[in-house]
Subunit: 404 residues, 2 copies
């Protein structure tokens, strides 16, 4: 029965010594099974998508191996009762690994939710504010702006700094904007996915009882973060730590429990905190995938090591841009360029279509810039291998040589 | 490279003629790869979980095969941009297959959302009502009750019938409750997962401008439904059509566009409808899985055929209970017993622990009743094979023989 064969081969495959797998390949050839050795590696594309984005190959292979029958449980993770011991072990390990990675203090809760960062744009003011409460937003890109607009429904938010006039290429100096001393929180987007602007350090709320809140969707777990500086950190998983459909909220426990009356039960942090993210059925498979990624990040040595890799990848790409004598251009101020999302344009804008098309022929995909800004964008999250960035840089140089 | 081997074997495996797979097995044995032929079939449990629940084996194998590299795209579905042509083809096919399955009229929108039915408990009154609008709820179990309670935040709901006093074992006759002639909608839960009570037909709203709304989470796509009788049908996917993390809303288009001001953007049907469920990043992998299930249901001959299978499975189980001379008991009134969730108790309640434990030894798992009602519950959704129910029935008879 091919179904059975399928699963068990997978179950063992990842643990096979390479000699054995090579032998297996040779043996299978006479049966006209297409040889895999070269083909999956070459068939995999180099995926510069902004999210959903590339996942670590070893994580995908592990998920594939376990998909039909997770660790001999007799079922897929997708089939497990969310209250059964198997899934509880998965979500608990995911949480404890994330706590290890980010050194999350014990007075913070970790919630695995649904609905993306966009749902949190509403949940934050609904949980932390009364309708008349003032809050401050630093707007360094489209996501910060969306967060601000949604908050207008539930409290009294003010944009204390906006980079819009400069096309979102900067982050303000921390004394360059005036905070409301009564603001319940100061909100920022730690990394603007579309514009490639990233905070390298964080402002402190002027209100001693206020808290700092950061949307870290696109740089979550890309580097160490001092969680204790924040009241809330939240992130959609689909950039650095998993598939879409999981949103992670890290919140200081004393901020939980004051939701406005109009808060939908699914947006009330108290409900999720009291039920360890199991008030209703959570996105189980997505949480499982995040857990595999956390495990992989720990195995890489933790976030300091991950940050070094990300810095190296970003450096060779920004260097290629800056050393192109203007052929490639990155509009973002150097000190706040994102390690994750690298937007760039061509001096000769008419060549951008060709650049993207030719790159795709070389298996480098999703390089088109966001529709709101145009140009190109290379998203180089944790799972993008150095070799992927090196290949892009080599292609850029070759493309430039052909067009100058 | 074992990673590559792995994927490609999978890529071909499901299409291998059985002779070839048998040969492959023989060939792999000398390499000490554990033989799979018997083991995955016997290792798979018979999963009676109420949701997340069993998925069709062929769907899981297909998902496993494609997980690392979807149809030669070079990436996993989990890695695809939700705006790329690959994922668009997936979500569009999922929608058109669902439209075929349920014969959804063109004046209805299909939305793929997040947050489970519980999020819809708030979204429905927020989108369809003003705060003072009256709405009616028929409460035949815990889920209908939760829906009613959430609606209290956003409109003026009334319970027009409740089965609570009779422990949720009945559905009212349609002239057995009084509707508010001004109610904006009449809400019911088509199948109560916990109590095993299922509507076999549906009441008509008394208000000619009102609409009928049904939570079909636990019997969605288990039988044909005349969608045109409803204003809104909604369902969490994790019982019959996919993994957790996807919520499907089928809504008559003229009901869209009147959300209250306090509606979070992610709960506004208009936003999702205008953006074809792609306003923010949707739960891509979950939607892909639902699509595979829809495809499988169509291949089975559509929902009439699926209903016949479900009727047969339910009949042999209810017959076994009813013919046990009181050893097993189902509290639900016969005419409204669910085809999906079969709750039952033992006359000798002290034997229930043993029953569940021994069943688990026979690989029949998740038979424990919901913590709020006790006893046992066998959830026998679409993906539960007839053989699974037959095995349970045989076990029940054997257990009874040993204890009488």
């Amino acid at each position: 029965m091919s179904a059975s064969t399928n699963s068990l081969l997978l179950g063992n495959q990842t643990h096979l010594p390479s000699l054995k797998s090579q032998s297996l390949l040779r043996l299978t050839k006479p049966l006209s099974i297409r040889c895999a050795a070269s083909s999956t590696t070459t068939e995999r594309v180099i995926n510069f998508a902004a999210g959903p984005a590339a996942l670590p190959e070893n994580v995908l292979l592990k998920a594939q191996s376990d998909l039909y029958n997770w660790r001999g449980s007799g079922m897929s993770v997708m089939e497990m009762s969310h209250r059964g011991k198997e899934f509880l072990s998965i979500i608990q390990k995911a949480e404890s690994d994330l706590r290890l990675l980010l050194h999350i203090p014990p007075d913070y809760s970790v919630l695995f939710l649904q609905g993306g960062a966009t749902t949190q744009f509403a949940a934050l003011p609904l949980n932390l504010c009364n309708p008349e409460d003032p809050v401050d937003y630093v707007v360094t890109g489209s996501w910060g702006d969306k967060a601000f607009k949604e908050a207008q429904k539930y409290c009294n938010p003010k944009v204390v700094w906006s980079g819009k006039a400069e096309k979102y290429t900067k982050v303000p100096s921390f004394d360059g904007f005036e905070q409301n001393p009564h603001a319940k929180y100061l909100h920022l987007c730690a990394n603007e996915t579309i514009h490639g602007v990233e905070f390298k350090d964080y402002p402190v709320p002027k209100n001693p009882n206020g808290v700092l809140i950061a949307d870290m969707s696109s740089n979550f777990c890309s580097k160490p973060v001092d969680v204790s500086k924040f009241g809330v950190i939240y992130a959609g998983a689909q950039k650095n730590v998993g598939p879409s459909g999981v949103t992670i909220v890290i919140i200081r426990k004393d901020l939980i429990g004051n939701a406005q009356d109009v808060t939908p039960v699914m947006l009330d942090y108290k409900i999720h905190d009291e039920n360890s993210s199991l008030y209703n059925t959570p996105p189980c498979f997505g949480i499982y995938m995040c857990g595999l990624v956390f495990d992989d990040l720990l195995a890489q040595g933790g976030l300091k090591e991950v940050e070094k890799k990300n810095q190296r990848k970003a450096k060779i790409l920004y260097d290629a841009i800056d050393e192109s004598r203007g052929f490639f251009r990155c509009p973002v101020e150097k000190s706040v360029r994102s390690l994750m999302n690298v937007p760039f344009t061509l001096e000769k804008a008419e060549l951008e279509g060709e650049f993207i098309k030719e790159a795709a022929k070389e298996k480098m995909v999703q390089l088109k810039g966001h529709r709101s800004v145009g140009g190109m964008r290379a998203s180089i999250y944790n799972a993008m291998p150095l070799a992927g960035v090196e290949k892009l840089v080599a292609f850029m140089k070759e493309f430039q040589a052909r067009h100058t």
